[in-house]
Amino acid sequence: MAAIHDFDRRWIFLAMGVLVTTLYTLGSEKALTNSEYVDSYYATIEALPEGSVVMLSADFDPASAAELLPAYTATIHHLLKRNLKVVNVATWPPAPPYTREEFYRIAPMYGAEYGTDWTAMGFLPGDDVAMGNIGQSLRSAYPKDDVDGTEYDNLPLMAGLGDNMEGVDLLITMSAGYPGILEWIAQVGGRYETPILAATTAVQTPDLFAFYPNQCVGFLGAATGATRYLQLIDELTDGAVEEVKLENQKRMMVQSWAHMLIILLIVVGNLIYFFGAKGKQGAKA
């Protein structure tokens, strides 16, 4: 028993590494079943009339991109395929490069033009205060865009928007933590009538259940939610997200087995703990 108590935890890291690498190299894709929250996210975007304006807030960084980038990519495909106008904002400093990269790649597929179909307004410092400012007046929050410093009024898409979220039909946030979906709900959702959708990291997902469906109309919880969403929009986008979907489905298969290993380790650890405690009591008696 003493040998088990002295077990080097690095063997567990190694086992997890070997399991994930082997399964990822040799494994196949795993399709997921639908979820109410993801269906609601999809249906909310589908329900918007063509030409509606969506504010897409990138509130993440490279550390959370693994979980949120698939959802971000899928959302951009869905919005542009449906001919919706996208106003990009960000409250996390490392987010704007992701916006530019994804839109430069995806927008030409749907013939979306910068300035009329989408804009990138960039990062705004100030966390929740910045969110309140964006809600109050986009014009004063962003006098210029983030691409080449074009004045707000010279961007046709922006010129049509008013103060107090007037003209914005939907707000979507890719939320990695603070500031994120909870702050958007407090600063914008609670004050204006704009419905809010979110894609969140796994850590933040449990916080969101309490806000669904009244304050957050739908959400993609972690990479699992993103994969479900990719499955939903695959046909709609004529296979444009097929490769990303298959890659994420493969990740889900690996994730399931990694969870099985963790559950097994928790069970074994508890058995060792309880039998070890019983053994010690017997020795004392």
Binding site: P97, F123, L124, P125, D128, I185, N214, G221, Q255, I262
Partner: protein
């Protein structure tokens, strides 16, 4: 993921948005494997990655805040309003057209408050930083109080007081159609109510712990434990997703285009040598080899 979407062969050095280059691939593999090497023990590879991460992160954040927080709202703003003044044009602020000199004056106030905040660096006990600090705390408290009270207290309290039956379902009468049963909805509402009531009861410290209150508190603790367990589960889910993404990236960089050996013609088998001379294997091999040499030399010293 970008790796999977990149169609063209990567160049050695390419800063075009959305494209990856060979040099970047080698760096990504080095930093990923260097960070993973910490799982074995603290070592110079990990330290290098850690210092590079902190340095690059600080540089990036500083530049972003400089651009968005100082250069554009102060320097460029002043220049543009001066130009407006020279041209005799009005400036639109908050929906009102005002004189440019007034816009400049209004922007000087927050600038002065910012400078007062920095006065602490020269005189730690000065009164100057207290004024902007008081304004910041006041504004922040007001913002938090209005928005957060509405979204996290008022609305959630109202949502906690909902009927036990689902208004969207037909109800108990339709026994033949299981899809229309709302028994699960009612059951979940009862669990929610009992959980909420008992969890709140656990934090009731103003009354003596009678057996009834102790029982309520016990159920409250179990509810909280289940909640924390669920949150922990989601945290593990996130961490595993990050690991899988890194393995995905390493697998992508083991492609023939990144290998030291020339890529074979499309459609032919790249062979073992091509994969063995790709960034993840070469860098991983070097790190493992050097760590093993370090471990052997330490063991030699400790036995001596």
């Amino acid at each position: 993921m970008i790796l999977a979407l990149q169609q063209a062969a990567p160049q050695f050095f390419d800063l075009t948005p959305g494209s990856l280059d060979i040099l970047g691939g080698w760096l990504v593999c080095f930093f990923t494997l260097a960070v993973f090497s910490f799982l074995y023990r603290d070592n110079p590879f990990y330290k290098t990655a850690e210092h590079a991460f902190v340095g690059l992160g600080t540089a990036y954040y500083t530049l972003q805040y400089w651009k968005e927080g100082i250069w554009e709202p102060v320097v460029e703003y002043m220049e543009e309003r001066s130009a407006d003044m020279d041209a005799g044009e009005l400036y639109s602020l908050g929906g009102m057209d005002i004189e440019p000199w007034l816009a400049i004056s209004l922007r000087i106030i927050p600038l002065l408050l910012g400078l007062m905040l920095l006065w602490r660096l020269f005189s730690p006990n000065s009164w100057a930083p207290r004024w902007p600090l008081a304004i910041m705390v006041g504004v922040y408290a007001a913002l938090k109080m209005t928005g957060e009270t509405q979204s996290k207290l008022v609305v959630l309290l109202a949502e906690a007081m909902t009927p036990l039956t689902d208004p969207t379902k037909v109800g108990w009468a339709e026994w033949s159609n299981i899809e229309q049963w709302d028994v699960f909805f009612t059951f979940s509402k009862i669990v929610f109510f009992v959980g909420l009531f008992c969890a709140l009861g656990h934090f009731l410290f103003t009354y003596k712990r009678t057996p009834l209150l102790a029982g309520v508190s016990r159920i409250g603790v179990i509810t909280l434990m289940i909640t924390f367990g669920s949150m922990f589960g989601f945290t593990v889910l996130g961490r595993i997703a990050l690991l899988i993404e890194r393995v995905d990236a390493l697998e992508g960089y083991s492609a023939p285009a990144y290998s030291l050996v020339d890529a074979p013609p499309p459609g032919t088998d790249p062979g073992f040598l091509n994969a063995a001379l790709s960034p993840p294997f070469i860098i991983g091999g070097i790190i493992v080899l050097l760590l093993a040499i370090g471990a052997i030399s330490r063991r030699g010293k400790s036995t001596a």
